[in-house]
């Protein structure tokens, strides 16, 4: 089960959801094996940074517009937004420590 601290975003609410603060978004799909591997790391980050940043997921099968808009052509991809601006892109698997360092740079 995903952490309760991970929000589920859709094409409809994406833009509004990344408008304020630091938002880390995980683009994934059910058929993507590496995405399943990254999911626990994203959950842990959501728990550890709870209240300081927003951690969210976008299922690319159900929400094709947002990945197209941000030119996501491979998953898993993590995008980090700060006050609506795209600041970081991480493609593929990444370690928790490296992701934490990346988040800390924007806090």
């Amino acid at each position: 089960m995903a952490s309760v601290n991970v929000k589920t975003l859709t094409d409809a609410d994406f833009v509004d959801s990344v408008k304020t603060g630091v938002v880390l978004v995980d683009f994934w799909a059910a058929w993507c094996a590496p995405c399943r591997r990254l999911a626990p790391t994203v959950d842990q980050l959501a728990d550890e940074y709870s209240g300081r940043i927003t951690v969210a997921k976008v299922d690319i099968d159900e929400n094709p517009m947002t990945p197209t808009k941000f030119m996501v052509r491979g998953i898993p991809t993590l995008l980090l937004f700060k006050d609506g601006d795209l600041k970081e892109t991480v493609v593929g698997l990444a370690g928790k420590d490296d992701l934490a360092k990346m988040i800390d740079r924007h806090l």
Binding site: W31, A33, P40, V72, R73, G74, I75, T77, V91, D97
Partner: protein, 309 residues
């Protein structure tokens, strides 16, 4: 914290088979998964050459089974990626960021990862049309033209998978014959959507400024002639590099970076054993990785009991 008997670094077929055998030998192994947990089979589809499955088994399913089997006998598996090791004296130390584990024996099964081109631009366009995993990223190229680089089994598997999705798949190979196994070659050649460009190298990928792949710049290795191929995606299947950066200066390696082993699974440091693709640049099969994982566990058990001859 008390020392463990054995730590296994890596969770592909080699690491998990080592874990299974070590657990059954009551060594209570600790397995550190690594970020590519489950190994290369996690990125494959049907595995048709794993003995005992006449109809094949999906790679991720095989790894789920193997993992559960190792856990059933008491292997402890932790998430995370090893950040450093100290193999200079026993107990050996294996660190994951701030967490440090120690053990009397270590089995290294860190495997190999997909090799990139040496262009620089391919990494910049990673996730923007350049990929090393067709089953992960093929989805984005439904109804679009793509290219696959390479002539081995990895490249054929990518091409066969992509032929179902893309409008066209061009396999680009720098030689005029494929290195892939006969069965994979035949399958790829039989599919109408797949065409081959022989004696051809990729010298550049466009378009970094736009942040997406629009074309490949190619060079014929015989004539030197350049050309351009318009594609939306390019999949790299040119082989693998061993994940041995952690062990530089601590364990003996071949010139190509693979760990040297002798007398079974022994590395240059007594008590440190290696299994799977990290020490095998010849066979590189799931079943040989599993076999060498078994060897490493038996060698580690004998080392710990003082009976390794």
């Amino acid at each position: 914290m008390t020392d463990r008997q054995v730590i296994i670094v890596g969770s592909g077929p080699a690491g998990l088979t080592a874990a299974l055998y070590a657990a059954r030998a009551a060594l209570k192994p600790l397995v550190i998964e690594g970020i590519e947990a489950g190994g290369q089979l996690m990125l494959t589809t049907m595995v048709e050459n794993w003995p005992g499955y006449r109809d094949g088994i999906m790679g991720p399913d095989l790894m789920t089974e193997l993992r559960a089997q190792a856990e059933r006998f008491g292997a402890e598996i932790v998430q995370g990626d090893v950040s450093s090791v100290d193999l200079s004296s026993r107990p050996f130390a294996v660190s994951l960021g701030k967490t440090r584990y120690t053990a009397q024996a270590v089995i290294i099964a860190t495997g190999a990862s997909a090799k990139w081109l040496n262009l620089g631009v391919d990494k910049k366009l990673s996730g923007r049309g350049v990929s090393t995993c067709a089953t992960c990223d093929g989805f984005f190229f439904k109804g679009r033209p793509v290219a696959v680089i390479g002539g081995g089994d990895t490249a054929m598997e990518e091409a066969i998978y992509l032929a179902k999705l893309a409008t066209s798949v061009t396999v680009i190979h720098r030689r005029d014959t494929l290195r892939a196994s006969k069965v994979m070659q035949d399958k790829a050649r039989s599919l109408p959507g797949i065409s081959f460009l022989w004696n051809t190298e990729v010298v550049d990928i466009k378009d970094v400024d736009r942040g997406e792949v629009t074309a490949l710049v190619l060079k014929n290795t015989q004539t030197g002639a350049s050309s351009e191929l318009a594609v939306d995606g390019v999949f790299i299947g040119i082989g693998h590099v061993p994940n041995t950066a952690l062990f530089k200066g601590q364990l003996a390696m071949h010139d190509n970076g693979y760990l040297k082993t002798h007398d079974g699974s022994r590395t240059s440091v007594p008590g440190v054993f290696a299994a799977g693709d990290v020490q095998d640049h010849v066979y590189r099969q799931a079943v040989t990785a599993a076999g060498s994982g078994c060897m490493a566990a038996i060698d580690a058990e004998r080392f710990l009991s003082g009976t390794l001859s």
